[in-house]
Symmetry: C2
Subunit: 420 residues, 2 copies
């Protein structure tokens, strides 16, 4: 039997290492050429499948594929596009399978977070219903680290390393200046619901008095009075205070702190930024000079300071996905299983997509210190190994030398276009 | 004649490499022990001299001093504290010389920007007037790159490398997402008056269509209509638009764009952040989804991505300062002279403090592209070599292993305290 082709796509917010997973998929598929034919990548995620915009990865050189391992972003384009239930969007699922059939695709790899695992699961269900056989394997990815079953999610370790490094560096700056200038520095961190990335900032602190001195986690309701007391006590004790705040911090009424009804002079709702709000609160109530930073995309694309552990794991789940598929396993996702904290050991196990889809893993209560402004020893043991190791990209003329693929579309075979 | 002691202090906003200059000073002074005795560092810059809070650097190990070469911030503390004219603050200058006399200090090294070079110059003048002989040598430092005479300022090359790397990485992220999500990314860059750092972002672009697609420089008056046209044309052509904006961008009335009368719901003036303002303008006028980042202290403390060229130069000016002093040269500052662009060659020359003090070097008009949104080829040739080379710090447990000195004060000898 001639080998079936494969479809691979990247979905949702990108990471510094999602292309390392792509690299794992493509290199491993080339090793299984008896079972897997061409790998077509969806341009802009699942949209590439719906619109029959399939990138022929077989024309990319070995060197270009290898360079994906150190290139941030999504090399084939990602998308924020959610397929909902089969009942509501049956036509979309039918279209997917129609495109797959037209290009003799028998393997479906979808690289993303919780929503993407749900999509992969649904494609698998539809394949049974419509009796079009396709092996469906999810590949985990999210900087938010909120996927269940897997011990951690590829993408998170590098964000964690970037944030802990950056907050340590900014703290060295602040410690130099606070005597006559800025006394408080606030760093805003991604993570609307789960506080994993904010918690990782705490890795920068190794000795009494080290920054960060307070975390504002989305899992802990913001209490203005307690927070201001904490800041004041820290400044009185150490002369300065470094704070990491999650963009998802909420007030007691459940509203996000970052969108609490502020308007500018033109009556527009003030755009995001919980860091400037926290800063304004501190300076108006305590009178300290403050600085703030919002890393935004910088944190999830900072491949130059990626975690080697994270790169290894991102590659490994890509490779494992292809191996699962080649072995005929479907409706599964490679998950990382932790075997020990120190030395850090892990392997890859098979998770059922039905157990992964649409479940969000928040920071467990025992990961949060009793005062709510820090992390526990349990959390530290969990987080510490994930940022270990450097994996610098090559540099050229002083800048990271990232690859851009050719991304050549394969000729369309279907006459009908599909509107998305 | 017994060797005289030296005073060294760090001043103003810190950089990723000001400690590399300190390393150059301390290591070179130890090599000139026949002429230079102990080096006392001022705790928190010149304040350490005024308050007789002198750190005895001789108790620090060779290893700790060597580690300064890769540690950001100011190891002895910096300050924002300006000595003004001798007429107004004669008592302060007299106090400085009194402290220096008490500790047998015959060399004064001051590591900072334009204001600091002015202070060094004044101390030199006072030493003549009060007939207390002291050799005064300035050491250049500023992320703003606005010191005159010297071809570039230590600290700038590393900010430039951090920014160009970060904007390239964020652009890979945006390029992955724009099809269904964010179309515009805005990065806010330090530099209230001079646009050097913002200009350096343009190094990230090497091919047609590469980010950044527009710079907003403080040297170019902001024109809302022209800017929005530029953004719209860029999005229509490339699907997305990456913008670097200087915190110092001004409106036609000369007011900073970042403080244009906005108030929050409580009637407080909205705190800084020109990036959110630019973003709000774009989303309200053009309807594009935008993201923004403000790197703030992260950019000037990012030692993990420092420029090797910058580290070399920071060390070299520290070393040269001591060599000038040992040769009896006073009221001077080591300056970097460019000998050629490619290959990049430079040496150190002697600049007169009188020519350096209180002069600000803005981006020359011929460094700015004709449309005002980019840089010229002349600028690119100037900027390109400054970011070349990586100079990674050592890492431990996944994080940069920066040094904290003991910073032990030498016993005070003066009875009177000095209020600052």
């Amino acid at each position: 039997m001639a080998p079936k082709n494969a479809f691979y796509a990247q979905s949702g917010g990108v990471t510094a290492v999602i292309n390392a997973s792509a690299c794992g998929v493509l290199q491993t598929a080339r090793q299984h050429s008896g079972k897997i034919g061409k790998v077509y990548a969806g341009r802009n995620g699942i949209i590439g499948a719906l619109t029959e915009d399939l990138i022929d990865t077989s024309v990319e050189s070995e060197a270009a594929i290898a360079a994906l391992k150190y290139t941030p972003g999504a090399a084939f384009g990602s998308c924020r596009y959610k397929l909902t239930s089969i009942q509501e969007q049956r036509a979309q699922y039918e279209r997917l399978l129609e495109v797959f059939a037209a290009h003799d695709i028998g393997f479906f790899f979808y690289n993303g977070g919780g929503d993407s695992q749900d999509t992969t699961h649904k494609v698998s269900q539809m394949s049974h219903e419509l009796t079009y056989p396709i092996v469906c394997v999810g590949i985990p990815k999210t900087v938010d680290n909120d996927l269940p079953v897997t011990d951690c999610s590829p993408g998170f370790g590098s964000v964690a390393k970037y944030l802990a490094t950056s907050i340590r560096e900014a703290a060295f700056d602040l410690a130099s200046m606070y005597r006559t200038s800025t006394k408080v520095f606030v760093l805003e961190v991604m993570g609307r619901h789960a506080g994993w990335a904010t918690a990782a900032c705490a890795l920068a602190a190794e000795e009494e008095g080290d920054a960060p001195h307070a975390l504002l986690l989305p899992e802990v309701t913001f209490n203005e009075g307690r927070f201001l007391t904490r800041v004041q006590e820290t400044v009185e004790r150490y002369g300065h205070c470094v704070i990491a705040v999650s963009e998802g911090v909420k007030k007691p009424d459940g509203e996000f702190l970052s969108t609490s009804g502020t308007e500018d002079a033109f009556g527009h709702a003030q755009l995001g930024g919980v860091a400037p709000r926290i800063t304004e609160l501190i300076s108006s109530k305590l009178g300290y000079k403050c600085h703030w930073a919002v890393a935004d995309y910088l944190q999830r694309s900072a491949r130059h300071i990626a975690s080697q552990t994270d790169v290894h794991q991102a590659y490994a789940v890509g490779r494992a996905a292809v191996e699962f598929a080649a072995a005929g396993r479907s409706a599964v996702m490679p998950a990382i299983r932790r075997l020990s904290d120190a030395p850090y050991r892990w392997d890859i196990i098979e998770a059922r997509l039905s157990e992964v889809a649409n479940r969000e893993k928040l920071l467990p209560p025992d990961f949060i210190s009793s005062d709510g402004f820090g992390i526990s020893d349990v959390a530290r043991r969990y987080l510490a190994p994930l940022i270990v190791g450097e994996a610098y990209p090559p540099f050229k003329r002083g800048l990271p030398d990232y690859v851009k693929l050719q991304n050549i579309a394969t000729p369309k075979k279907l006459r009908l276009k599909f509107a998305i």
